[in-house]
Amino acid sequence: MVLSLLTGVVYPLLVTGVAQLLFPSQANGTLVYENGKPVASALIGQPFDAPRYFWGRPSATSRVPYNAAASSGSNLAPTNPTLLKFVRVRIETLRVADPGNKAPIPVDLVTASGSGLDPHISPAAAEYQVGRVAKARGMGENAVRQLIVERTERRTLGLLGEDRVNVVQLNLDLDRASR
């Protein structure tokens, strides 16, 4: 009983207290504010399908993509015909939105993430979309590339994980630059 109180009440409260004191932003979801209003968590992706925005990973959450109250992956097997069908549709959508672009599509842009909330795409997947976004916004491609570089997070210590681009932050930057 004492052990239950210790591990179930004292311990989480202690961690919460210290965490709120030392890392108030991270402990509450790393929120991003625009004009005092929360517009995003820097760690949670959002759905985008307009040509003027960079698109993130396909999301398999229920009811609505990037449903951050009910995280979920697709759990489709590599041999499942449904997976193949989804990937074909995603390829088609990308091609239609950017008819001139004949480059091969980076695989992370047409496969659903594990959480359905992945805020990142690979630098290659960002580069693939530069032409479309620049055209839709009437910006120079190099100006768009510069913003990508600023929102590219590197491997930890040059080793762990992967280089990646934060789509939510990048799109917020684009909107700020266009204003």
Binding site: M1, L3, L6, T7, G8, Y11, P12, L14, V15, T16, F23, Q26, A27, N28, G29, L31, K37, P38, S41, L43, I44, Q46, P47, F48, Y53, R63, V64, A68, A69, A70, S71, G73, S74, N75, L76, A77, P78, T79, N80, V87, I91, P104, I105, P106, V107, D108, G114, S115, L117, D118, H120, S122, A124, T156, L160, G161, E162, D163, R164, D175
Partner: protein
């Protein structure tokens, strides 16, 4: 193979092995009751717990009393978690107004956490209130882990003691495991995770305005996103350290608020194998010959490393079905490539495959990518690692006691080959020990294969399958492999939240946990009663590379012979279909 991937795998194992000795030494001091520093700072807390429980920590228990205490304590925990879920809608700390959990699901979740399996039939953010998560799940995360460690320590005492009727005091082992080992590590770890962005709050779910409005499945415009929050970090760290694995959120450690960066991933990954690996050293220290511990650890690494590398290779090769669609699956500086369905960009292939291998080698079961979407051979690795009986690292405590049982079988087999009486660590291995060991290695396959057979025999089981063909069979086989070895990971597509699966997997978890712990404790009692046999020229030394080979051979033989036919029906057929 990509050079950076190899470096990541090697770096991980190097850091792990470097921590084995200091932590293992510390834990040995904790269990032997020798001073270690923290007892000086927290001794008052330990004494307070004994006084509140009316416990005399110095009172020695026979193996039977020890077992009864363990079972009674676990039953109490199980009932508490079940009760909490059934009445969570009446209790505080439920800002989302979540309803009571239905009985079959509540039973499954209660067994799941008491037995250190942490199979997730529940949905985290959509099913359980903050109070249930804390007072139910977080508590069991600690106590089921401490239970496993206690049973291991009792077995080790069986080897150490001579002509003794007792194996220690369960309450003493349980309390000290919790407050001197699990709590301090969790406190530090939880704060490190928060610094990376893991949430730790009691606020209600946060709503933000979407940058670009979207449409829901019905075509209605959606302008907001509701982000699930909660006291996650404090639970995430102990689910990793205690080889529990039950996630705070539905998608476990692939959720960006549960595992936000490659660094948090590395820490969580390290926490999976840390205690199971370090306990090998603790065991060596306690039996007075650390070489014995290193030999067991070496055997674990010999099995683990090639399987992890094979899993990585298979995932990085990508999905052949997507090969001619104009997609780039090649790994490079600017993209992870490979089979990215169900994986997160920040982890890429290497950190995902390494995690999948570590979480199933240990009886952890947390995931940072969706195993259901793995390539057939990539998914075979985690499934087979579980089927080996969760002894390659395994659960905290339970993995090592399982491996020591295999060591007993290995010396028995070696003894038969040369015609000598088998001994392990100075104790004669006789008929009673072998009977108990046979129970330990036979029960999990029986549960796994029997359960799978019943499930695929009719609609009650097959209706939940969501992927066609041999992969559908793999989903069911994976579920019972996971429950029948107290792992807890899943091929998540399987719709396991049905009455049939909640009950059958619940029973599988109970059998796999307690039907193994009881024979192990019985063996501990029997070993403790024996006199020490001095080593002679005929004794097989159990700290040599030769013994490591024999031990690995026994583990692989038992695992392979039992499960190859079933694996052939699932992942192997699927691979041939995909490749051909």
């Amino acid at each position: 193979m990509n050079a950076l991937a190899i470096v990541q795998i090697v770096l991980y194992l190097a850091v792990l092995v470097a921590l084995v000795k200091p932590l293992g030494w510390y834990m040995a001091r904790v269990y032997e009751g020798k001073p270690f520093g923290l007892d000086w700072a927290l001794g008052w807390l330990e004494r307070l717990i004994y006084r509140a429980g009316g416990i005399d920590p110095a009172r020695e228990m026979s193996w039977k009393t020890y077992t009864l205490a363990m079972l009674a304590f676990n039953l109490l925990g199980l009932l508490a978690v079940y009760g909490l879920q059934r009445v969570q809608h009446l209790l505080p700390l439920n800002p989302q107004g979540l309803l009571a959990v239905p009985p079959d699901l509540a039973f499954n979740t209660a067994v799941s956490f008491a037995s250190n399996t942490n199979w997730q039939s529940y949905g985290g953010e959509t099913t359980l209130s903050y109070l249930t998560q804390m007072l139910g799940l977080t508590v069991q995360n600690f106590l089921s882990a401490a239970t496993g460690m206690a049973v291991l320590v009792a077995l080790v005492r069986g080897f150490v003691r001579r002509s003794s009727q007792t194996v220690g005091n369960f309450w003493y082992d349980l309390t000290r495991s919790t407050i001197y080992i699990l709590l301090p590590l969790s406190l530090v770890g939880a704060l490190l995770l928060v610094s990376q962005g893991v949430v730790q709050t009691f606020r209600e779910y946060q709503t933000v305005t979407l940058i670009e409005p979207t449409h829901d499945a019905g075509g209605a415009v959606v302008t907001d996103q509701t982000i699930a929050l909660g006291p996650a970090a404090s639970q995430v760290i102990i689910k990793q350290l205690g080889t529990n694995g039950g996630g705070f959120f539905n998608v476990n450690s692939s959720h960006p608020l549960e595992n936000p960066t490659p660094l948090s991933n590395f820490l969580e990954l390290l926490a999976i194998l840390l205690i199971p690996a370090a306990l090998c050293y603790t065991f060596g220290k306690m039996v007075g010959d650390t070489r014995q511990g290193w030999a067991v650890l070496a055997a674990m690494l010999v099995v683990f490393l090639p399987l992890a590398a094979f899993c990585y290779w298979s995932e990085q090769a990508g999905n052949p079905a997507l090969a001619d669609l104009g997609i780039d699956q090649e790994a490079g500086d600017r993209q992870p490539g490979g089979n990215m369905e169900g994986k997160e960009v920040r982890f890429g292939i290497a950190q995902s495959a390494l995690w999948a291998s570590a979480t199933t080698a240990a009886a952890n079961g947390s995931v940072n990518s969706m195993h259901d979407s793995y390539t057939p051979l990539g998914g075979l690795v985690p499934m087979w690692l579980m089927q080996l009986g969760e002894v390659i690292f395994g659960g905290v405590g339970s993995g090592l006691y399982g491996m020591l049982v295999f060591a007993v079988i290995a010396v028995f087999v070696a003894g038969l080959m040369v015609g000598r009486t088998p001994e392990y660590l100075g104790k004669k291995i006789e008929a009673f020990e072998m009977k108990m060991a046979a129970l330990v290695i036979l029960i999990p396959p029986l549960v796994v294969l029997g359960g799978t057979a019943v499930a695929v025999a009719g609609d009650w089981g097959t209706a939940s399958i969501t992927n066609p063909g041999p992969h559908g069979f793999s989903q069911v086989l994976y579920a019972f492999s996971s429950a029948g070895n107290n792992n807890g990971s899943a091929f998540g597509g399987l719709g396991a939240n049905t009455v049939f699966y909640n009950i059958s997997l619940g029973l599988a978890m109970l059998a796999a946990r307690y039907w193994l712990a009881i024979p192990v404790l019985a063996m501990a009692g029997s070993l403790a009663r024996k006199k020490a046999t001095p080593a002679s020229a005929g004794t097989l030394p159990t700290h040599t590379p030769l013994f490591v080979v024999v031990l690995v051979g026994v583990v692989i033989l038992v695992g392979a012979l039992t499960f190859v036919p079933a694996l052939a029906l699932g992942p192997i057929v699927e691979h041939l279909l995909l490749a051909g």
